[in-house]
Amino acid sequence: MFGFTEDMTEKQELVRKFCEDWVYPNLAEIDAGKCCPDYIWEEWCKIPGFASPCAPKFTGGEEMPFATCCAMWEELGKADLGVATGFGSNNLGSFPILLTGTDDQKKEHFGNLLQGKFGAFGLTEKGAGSDAGAVATEAKKEGEYYILNGDKCYITTSGKAIETKSTLAICASTDKSLGSKGLTMFLIPGDTPGLTAVKEEDKMGIRGSQTCELHLENVKLHESRILGGPEKGIGFGFKTAMMTLDAGRCVVAAQANGVAMRAIEMMVEYCNTHLDGGRPLSKNPAATFKIAELEAQTQACRQLVYHTAFMRDAGLNHGHESCCAKIVATENAINATRVAMDIMGVNGIKKGDPSTVDGAVEKLYRDARILSIYEGTNQVQRLVVTNGLFPKKKKK
């Protein structure tokens, strides 16, 4: 891989060692639950900087480069997409604060995360999925305070953020007449009265990631809780959310590459150990060429992810590249699990031990399907790319 810095290599190896020690051996337990077991998260947090890799130095964090984060999440995604998604919430949930938070807000939020607490980023609602601007959760101003009411859904690790009294970045409308331009991001302490996680989702896959529905009932917040402060933050929520997703999409693409790499690894192992017509499958081009094609696609996807990550680290606009990376990497990963099923036949569909070739692919197939849905569906990514290719002409 061109351009891997020493830091990226070192951190990726640390993640690999962590996964070998804590994730792979416990995949069956992870897949049986609805959230990564606490002991695995606690071990992750013991590695310096890992609890919140992007935490700024002045908050006590390591402020790791984005490319390093992508290298880490590729490796986590390879081991378990659910764990990667859940742990990634402390990156995704933090981007809004990094982007627009005040120094005090950053100290509070990253102080929580560096203690081993979870963050969360609450944008999606039942009526506001792909149409993020349709957020209905309302924040009404009452003097120096805002009263929030509404419901959020599919919010990663939000139950944990509430349980550990951490901080959540939640998007609400402060002026419905302005549509998406009336959205504002709030930094809400997990123990604020009226904020509750009402349901933990039961998902087909990524079961190592907690996904909750949130209910906000008369949640009273001082205006200082507006991300960026009341002067700068009002009406800046949608833009913050979109800028957050620019980064999040690239991380999802990195995780997808990890999934594809794991699928390829399993296919190679399977072909080396299984016979077809009396000879190893590894001698059968009908199998090996399919794997070779996936390997070529996956390597191309990795280049695109790291290219995008380096652009971000260089301070360049990378929204377009991030969308492109998400489209190709996630669809490649989903396809890789489909091809693995085809190659492994009945062994592919078997519910076995997911830490071995005996059960890995069945779980990978279920996990991977979320990739073209979350962080903006791939249809939305295509819309963003289209808008970049065919910009609206400005009225004279």
């Binding site: 009526g127 792909s130 016979l275 199998a287 489909r338 036949g345 009945v346 069945e362 849905i373 569906t377």
Partner: protein, 336 residues
């Protein structure tokens, strides 16, 4: 009403009344719905007259409950192949099918002859109707060649084989320890190819039923789910996904029809079935994947049946034979 229409109506009515209600929870919990299977047998759906009727039943059942549709597919396909090879071996109950083995596509399970009798020894994995059938067709090696045998279920130790989808459709690993066996066909390779072909043909119709349901629920959702101020059905991106599901349903029946005609005409049908399987396994995957995509997060939740269709689509064609079978068989036929 034509005879076909009557069968179709009977199958559709039965599926709606008896199979749809047990399609959701039992599949989630991998529960074998024995009462539903008994009801299918009582109505004659597990031993129909020919492959045309079996296809109608497979499609109608596939719309409501793919697990139970697969039970009907295996029961009808095995009954037909026994009739075709040696009708005297036919039984009233269900016949399962054991072909796969651990670490290899086939070959490790052996048959021994002692006088006029045979015994089978070894282990098969993921046997169709494993643990539920009354007897099994078993492919085993006899004098270094594959032969097909019938073994009573009571003579095999069954251990449940749980899987990605179709979890109410029973599959099990079977262990035979010198199990008494009756020879069905000395040419086990031929019988295996023909039985696999019949299963694949019928699976195309199960898939067509599944695609029909995927089209219905996706269309309804697209009409009622509002984003950007209008139903998502107004968005070209969603319309294209919907159209692909409909095309898949059409394709699934179109590719299988020549194979059904070949069986009915008493002609060779293995190559036709291979071509149908090659197209169908991708078509039903695309249809159910599109269905998930249209539903977004809802499609990924286990609270709704959408994710089940996605799991079932990949299970359906993976429980017959190994991965490169269609291409290999088609190419071999072209090059002979």
């Amino acid at each position: 009403m034509s005879e076909k229409s009557l069968i179709q109506k009977a199958a559709a009515d039965f599926a709606a009344a008896e199979l749809a209600p047990v399609s959701f929870v039992p599949e989630k919990t991998a529960e074998y719905t024995e009462d539903a299977v008994k009801a299918m047998a009582a109505k004659g759906f597990l031993k129909v007259a020919d492959i045309e009727e079996a296809a109608i039943v497979a499609e109608e059942f596939g719309k409501a409950n793919a697990s139970m549709a697969e039970v009907a597919v295996i029961a009808n396909a095995t009954a037909e192949i026994i009739d075709a090879y040696d009708a005297s071996k036919a039984i009233d109950g269900m016949t399962g099918y054991a072909v796969y083995e651990e670490g290899t596509s086939c070959g490790g399970v052996t048959a021994a002859k002692a006088g006029d009798a045979y015994t089978i020894t070894g282990k098969k994995i993921a046997a169709a109707l494993g643990g539920a059938a009354d007897q099994y067709i078993v492919i085993a090696t006899l004098e270094e060649k594959p032969a097909a045998f019938i073994v009573k279920a009571a003579d095999a130790a069954a251990e449940k084989f749980d899987k990605l989808g179709l979890r109410s459709y029973p599959t099990a690993n079977l262990t035979f320890d010198a199990a008494p066996a009756v020879l069905l066909a000395e040419d086990g390779a031929k019988l295996r190819a023909e039985l696999n072909a019949r299963i694949d043909i019928l699976n195309c119709y199960v898939a067509a039923g599944m695609a029909n349901t995927a089209a219905d629920v996706s269309t309804e959702y697209a009409k009622t789910r509002v984003q950007f101020g209008a139903p998502i059905a107004k968005l070209p991106a969603v319309q294209f996904l919907l159209a692909e599901i409909s095309i898949a349903e059409y394709t699934l029946k179109a590719v299988a029809a020549p194979a059904v005609e070949a069986v009915m005409a008493g002609k060779s049908y293995v190559i036709e079935a291979a071509k149908a399987k090659y197209v169908a396994s991708k078509a039903i995957y695309d249809a159910t994947s599109n269905c998930v995509q249209i539903h977004g997060g809802t499609g990924y939740s286990r609270e709704y049946p959408i994710e089940r269709y996605y799991r079932e689509s990949k299970t359906l064609f993976n429980n017959t034979d190994y991965f490169d079978w269609p291409e290999a068989r088609i190419a071999a036929d072209m090059l002979k």
